[in-house]
Symmetry: C2
Subunit: 217 residues, 2 copies
């Protein structure tokens, strides 16, 4: 049974590991599952063939015999549900780990993605400079709450889980901004995630993938 | 076994059903599970007792004997996993229904929530008026893709599922804006959701809850 995922033919971050295929690669590495990667160009992402797999024209997707999936959260949850290593055995702890996945994607990531909106999508607008501090403050509020909950623990709820995988992946997006350093507990949490052998393998794989071909232009 | 959820003591929408407890009420109604509701005031939401249940100080939460959960996506998935009526039996179809839940929460809802940011949180800012069309255009892009995928089907992937429950709930947030009417297929899809007896019971329950006490001030 071959697992095939899609990734940007050339990631906009040039291999910093911030594209969403890294989350799926990481989950597959934690689960010890080999996988293949099919590159998709920006133009091909909006073509019918890719839209049939991903209705919103994004990456990653996941194919495994007759299962075709999109949404990195759903893919990571599927991998975590099928293989050991990413969800606890206890039924309640399992449900709580999944809740942290949703918290990462629906509560913590949206304000972080607004940083991309204000800096890039609307970077040329006259309000961009004045709006940035508001966006950053909303991120800080969420991080303060997350930091308070994490406290001195290594992971969010007992052992490392798919919830931590997703939360660390979301927080990694903040690295270039420096905001993470205002919360030393969260910065250390992210560093613990990055130190995991499975993360290192996933990061190295996406870096090699993104630097294997000459840059565009 | 008693299920207890939390809801706003007084919902900011005054009972329009747009607060996230409605999604959980709807799922519980589809699953035929009785539940109790504990109101939480805005000030109590930021107190240690509630933060112990919901680290981000929001509603809804879910308590069922010794399981304590937050994040409406996780709660709906938990209810759907435990009871019939919200997820298909076929393993692959089940995973795809869950993917639509993630798509609703992580791909479709974030641009929709920006409408709240631009209209209310930043409604008094000088850029609010000029920024609104950009936010609306981003919503339109997502809706066009969703509408193309739905086509003439009643639901996103076969029979009604938790994925539809979440997608309809997210799209309902657009009703006051009128944007939904630009996509008749999606407007009809939302109307099909609203017509479900379980949704009607959930809506009526939250309305009664929000109008049972005199308005604040």
């Amino acid at each position: 049974m071959t697992i095939t995922i899609t990734a940007f033919e050339r990631s906009p971050d040039g291999g910093m590991g911030l594209a969403r295929d890294t989350r799926v690669r990481w989950a597959l590495e934690e689960a010890g599952q080999p996988y293949e990667v099919r590159p998709v160009s920006f133009s091909a992402m909006k073509e019918p063939a890719h839209l049939a797999v991903h209705p919103f024209g994004q990456i990653p997707t996941y194919e495994e015999s007759d299962l075709v999936l999109f949404e990195s959260g759903a893919i990571v949850l599927h991998v975590a549900s099928r293989h050991a290593g990413l969800l606890p055995d206890d039924a309640n702890a399992r449900v709580r780990a999944i809740a942290w996945m949703f918290a990462a994607l629906n509560t913590v990531e949206p304000p972080i993605l607004e940083l991309v909106t204000v800096k890039f999508l609307e970077g040329d607008k006259p309000w961009s400079k004045d709006r940035l501090p508001l966006v950053v403050d909303r991120i800080r509020s969420r991080l303060a709450q997350l930091s308070a909950r994490l406290g001195d623990a290594d992971w969010l709820d007992g052992a490392f889980s798919a919830g931590d995988l997703m939360m660390v992946s979301v927080l990694l997006r903040l690295k270039p901004s420096g905001i993470l350093n205002e919360f030393p507990g969260l910065a250390a949490y992210v560093a613990r995630g990055e130190a995991r052998p499975a993360y290192k393998r996933a990061f190295a794989a996406q870096l090699a993938f993104n630097t294997a071909r000459p840059p565009a232009g």
